[in-house]
């Protein structure tokens, strides 16, 4: 359930909800970190459930000593009222058999809060790509039927590629085709449930493998940015300058320092 930070619940009607799927390479979650950090979104509450493994730490977006001591938990909600943007960040994995329950609770909240649309940032195993997908850009999108009416043309103008259907049972020659998102975690469940509930949802995903997934996250937010224009690209800056601010929690991503005696 959503628990606000302040005593009064904020009005989220008409806002766009951005959220990650816990998926291969944690690309969606890293992308959310970049968005929350770059836009300096402020925390408005928690989405408290028994569905994700508990974890706590100090403010992952701390920029100074003063704001470094705020406690963060595994599911937090941030907002940028000027852009009517709300971001949900998930920081841990689902407890076994709880992912479906989470999807139900989340979509119930989406409906009751009056969000205008949901955008899910996700990823899929790059080794599952077919030959055509290997030769094209590694980004795909999916729209629920209620979202297609408002946004399909925009996607066509951007020259985006819709996620292809693939055989439901790969081993069978005449198997039916369906949308499969291997490594996408709850992406497919969220998408299917949103289709049946008439929720306006877009899924943006990148084909990725486990490793240093920061470039994948940057790629995904820039893909999103082509559509939402959440940060204006700096035309006068050098090509290598990124408009995205890495959060302070991305330090030591691959472990502590090395003992000098090793060398």
């Amino acid at each position: 359930m959503f628990v606000p930070c302040t005593d009064s619940a904020p009005d989220l009607t008409g806002c766009t909800l951005l959220m990650p799927a816990v998926s291969v390479g944690n690309v969606g979650q890293l992308a959310m970190d970049l968005i929350i950090s770059t836009l300096n979104m402020c925390k408005i509450g928690y989405f408290y459930t028994d569905c994700l493994v508990p974890m706590v730490g100090n403010n992952p977006y701390a920029t100074a000593e003063e704001n470094s001591a705020e406690l963060s938990i595994n599911t937090e909600v941030y907002s940028l009222p000027s852009r009517k943007l709300v971001a949900l960040q998930l920081r841990s994995i689902f407890i076994k058999y709880k992912s479906k329950s989470f999807c139900e609770k989340l979509l119930a909240w989406v409906k009751s809060s009056g969000f205008s649309r949901v955008i899910v940032l996700s990823s899929s195993h790059s080794y599952h790509r077919n030959d055509l997908q290997l030769r094209s850009a590694p980004f795909r999108y999916l729209l629920t039927p209620s979202m297609q009416k408002s946004v399909q043309n925009k996607m066509k103008n951007l020259n985006w590629q819709e996620m292809e259907k693939s055989p439901c049972i790969p081993e069978m020659k005449d198997s039916e085709l369906c949308i499969r998102i291997p490594g996408g975690g709850i992406t497919k469940t969220l998408y299917d449930e949103s289709c049946s509930k008439g929720i306006q949802m877009a899924v943006l995903l990148k084909f990725a493998s486990e490793g240093d997934n920061i470039p994948d996250a940057i790629g995904l937010v820039e893909y999103l940015n082509e559509w939402l224009q959440i940060t204006k690209p700096c035309s006068d800056s050098k090509p290598s300058t990124l408009p995205w601010k890495f959060p302070s929690s991305w330090r030591l991503l691959f472990g502590s320092g090395l003992p000098p005696a090793l060398f």
Binding site: V3, V22, S23, V24, G25, N26, Q29, Y46, Y48, D50, V53, P54, M55, V56, G57, N58, N59, P60, A62, S68, A69, E70, L71, I73, N74, S92, I93, F94, I95, K96, Y97, K98, S99, H125, Y127, P182, G183, G184, G185, I186, K188, T189, S209, E210, S248, S249, W250, R251, L252, L253, G255, S256, G257, L258, P259, P260, A261
Partner: protein, 289 residues
């Protein structure tokens, strides 16, 4: 999937924990009534049960809904438990009010209602001279699917803001991320995490990003943060996770905090008791002597 230097293809574990999700989807399609029954039985076996102190009968209401509480001190892990036993429980008269009984792959119990203090896993005590002060000694591992259940059984669904929670636990020093090599750190050392409504001073430095806490201590602290209950977690990073004198003594600065102040009265006697605890738990013989 990844190819190694030698040309073999291996399946790389997915950090996002998605492999189980895919299995779950497949299982959902193929699940039979027998599978559902097995899953139901397993869930029942893994239920967290709250038992009354004296009678060992089930307590139907959450512990803190039955008893008013102003201070709640929770020790998780053998070193934190030994610290509270020697320094706090030794300094006052505490009565046992209940315990939680659970089963998981890490702490298996026989199916008995009568658990002695050494067998029981999470035991709750109340200070006789001030019955609103509670203590929990938790020696077992509470699995991730049991942590929220534990919270519900202990705290209930109506969180009270007028109580203060202190949690003590240990983590292995290799889990502490720092730009320096872990071997150069003066182990053991204490770090703290506190909720927004906790306004008292902490007795050590705060846990720096990108370090996190997880398991039951994180579950309790998350609950307190969400429901605005003042709470502090003292994490002792050590290279000895078994019962160890130096590690237990590393918690001593916490005695000066407001939560524990006044509860530990006789430090020299406590230190003696701690040494005795260490001696009784040492392995008396090994095959080499």
């Amino acid at each position: 999937m990844a190819a190694t230097f030698f040309g073999e293809v291996v399946k790389a574990p997915c950090r996002a924990g998605t492999e189980e999700e895919e299995e779950e989807d497949d299982e959902g399609r193929r699940e039979t009534p027998e599978d559902r029954e097995v899953r139901r039985q397993l869930a029942k076996k893994r239920e967290v049960r709250l038992l009354q102190g004296q009678t060992k009968t089930s307590l139907e209401v959450p512990l803190l809904e039955k008893y008013p509480c102003s201070k709640f001190i929770i020790a998780i892990g053998s070193n934190a438990v030994a610290f509270l036993s020697s320094f706090v429980m030794n300094s006052g008269v505490w009565e046992e009010v209940g315990c939680t009984k659970l089963w998981n792959e890490w702490c298996r119990t026989t199916d008995t209602v009568h658990l002695s203090p050494t067998e029981a896993f999470c035991v709750f005590y109340r200070l006789k001279s001030n019955p609103s002060i509670f203590l929990c000694q938790c020696s077992c591992y509470v699995a991730e699917d049991q942590q929220y259940q534990w919270l519900e059984k202990v705290f209930g669904s109506c969180p009270r803001k007028n109580m203060q929670i202190t949690i003590l636990t240990c983590r292995h020093i290799t889990e502490y991320k720092t730009p320096e090599a872990p071997s150069s750190l003066p182990s053991p050392f204490l770090k703290a995490l506190k909720t927004q409504t906790y306004k008292d001073a902490v007795c050590c430095s705060l846990l720096e990003q990108p370090n996190i806490a997880h398991d039951l201590p994180a579950a309790v602290l998350s609950y307190c943060q969400v429901w605005k209950i003042p709470a502090v977690l003292y994490l002792c990073y050590t290279d000895v996770m078994q019962l160890d004198l130096v590690t237990v003594e590393a918690f001593k600065p916490a005695l000066s905090s407001r939560s524990l102040a006044g509860l530990a009265k006789n430090i020299p006697q406590s230190t003696e008791m701690l040494k005795r605890l260490m001696t009784t738990s040492e392995i008396q013989s090994n095959i080499y002597t």
